[in-house]
């Protein structure tokens, strides 16, 4: 068995108070290991995005703890947590969230710029990562000039550039057609995943199930037994 990358114990999250209280995640235990791609699937409103937010240090659980790379995430101060996310976690958002007023290379360089790397060094590094995702020739274009699949690859390059240990992907294929979605996940599995990295994917898309190491299902805020596979 590989080393544990993320461990959550008894995490719960509710929103609102009194009669309006909604329990989004109920007493969930979760573990993910280096070298695996874990899918969290489930219907809308099942709590998978809330769980993902808590696992990635964005949303504080009301109960329970999250340990990532041996650090109790919610024991960190806000600034420490921001630094931790910046250096240890890569994010790929559903809508990519690329700045349309920046070039593709500048978008990719953002995590390094936030880490106070010199501008030119960050841009050069971004070009290398764009080369890795096959978009070297698009480096100076704004993201709006790229197709959906290309934008997703730019988002992946941005997530990878700071060499994160954990990659968090939220509905990475939601805006892509089947073939493009599969090619993106195939790329991730081939080029991003390694034995020192763990990838958590929240998705609805059953067409990409073939790329998962494990698939966990959420329903009504609870994580139910999933389908386990090996790479």
């Amino acid at each position: 068995m590989s080393e544990i990358a993320i461990q959550a114990k008894g995490v719960s999250k509710w929103f609102g108070d009194g009669e309006a209280r909604t329990l989004a995640v109920k007493q969930v235990d979760f573990e993910a290991f280096f070298g695996e791609i874990v899918y969290i699937v489930g219907p809308s409103g099942s709590g998978k995005t809330t769980l993902l937010s808590m696992l990635s240090g964005i949303l504080k659980p009301n109960e329970g703890s999250v340990t990532m790379l041996g650090n109790d995430l919610w024991a960190l101060s806000n600034d420490e947590l921001a630094d931790f996310r910046l250096k240890k976690i890569g994010f790929v958002f559903q809508d990519y969230h690329l700045f349309s007023r920046l070039t593709t290379a500048e978008n990719v360089a953002i995590p390094l710029i936030l880490q106070r790397k010199p501008w030119s060094e960050a841009i050069n590094e971004a070009r290398k990562y764009l080369d890795i995702v096959g978009l070297k020739s698009r480096a100076d274009l704004p993201p709006v000039k790229l197709s959906g699949g290309e934008q997703q690859r730019v988002a992946i390059a941005r997530a990878m550039i700071s060499h994160p240990d954990i990659l968090i992907m939220d509905e990475p294929t939601a805006s892509l057609d089947g073939d493009t979605g599969r090619s993106v996940l195939s790329f991730v599995k081939t080029n991003v995943l390694d034995e020192k990295r763990c990838i958590i994917v929240v998705t609805h898309d059953v067409r990409i199930n073939e790329f998962a190491t494990r698939i966990l299902t959420m329903e009504d805020g609870r994580l139910t037994a999933g389908e386990g596979k090996t790479i």
């Binding site: 806000n78 809508d95 969230h97 007023r101 500048e106 953002i110 710029i113 939220d170």
Partner: protein, 378 residues
Amino acid sequence: MNGILKLAFKLLINDRAKFTGLLVGITFAAFLMVMMTSMFAGVLHRSSSTVINIGAPIWVMDPAVNTVANTIGMPDYVLDAVRSMQGVKYAVPLFSGGALVKLTDGTFQPVSVIGLDDTSLYGRPQMESGQIEDIYAENSFMVVHDSEFAKLKNPPIGTEFELNDHRGVVVGIAKVTTSGLFGVPTLYTTYERAIQYIPSPRYTISYVLVVPKSLADAERIHSQVAQLGYLALTREQFIQRISNFYTFQTALGLNIMLMTAISFIVGLSISGQTFYTFILENLEKFGALKAIGAKSYELVSMILFQAGFTALIGYGLGIGLCTTVVALARLRIPDYASMITFTNLGLALGMVIIIAAISSYIGVRKVLRIEPFEIFRG
């Protein structure tokens, strides 16, 4: 430049439409604020032109005098009394009044006449041509060469005119520091000739100009003059009194303040709304930056930088536009009453900074409130 600020800079200037909108708002506001206040400063400066040009350190006058233009004659004993006061080095009379000049072509032209003390010619102007001593010649007057000079048909030395049925002769062309406010030419002559030529009431001394033995005597002179029932003001106090009159006792100051306030509100509305839209449009991206690991103070510094940069560029453009307009106006009207002072510039800068601060405050609030979790929720 710091990478985060460079990021903010690129986000700002690459959104050309909004950046232009922001610049237009701030430039327009800065332009109007500086234009209004500099026009006012110019008017105030001109309103004190006689005080500035004569240059006496202390002016004695009737307490009801608010401006140089509305003089109230004082009896001769005031001059004698002032001359005998402690701390007075010397004191001379000054006549300041208006008259109608009949030019050789038969047209009439209102003029301002300054009558200098016959003995000392204290407060005399600098001569451009002619000799100041010629002022003692029969019927002689000096004409000030300012923007109003042409209204007397650009008279050379020797030109004759009529003033209240008296013959007048131009014996010199003078220049002064500041032109008058009311757009009439200025003639200098002796005090005695002035009160002889111009119909005068019983008391003829407009002002007693006092040179104290030392500046420390000013307060003592002030209190001694007050015992006579008159008012002694230093040059600066008199200029301030005139400014206060135009600012607070005429509609001029109120109108200028209103226009400046309106410019501020217009600038704030345009810039505030555009900046708010700019932030709203990028709000999710700022949320994504937060999720990636940007700290709140870094996002705040980005917004403040964007607002500050736009404000300073807009301010500079506004000042540039204002100076261009003033320069163009001066091509047409050489003595156009507009004066861009450091106070005007400072005031406009302060207001532009307030516009930027309010605009960015709205943006900062939005960005600080956005939860990265919202980005995941879509």
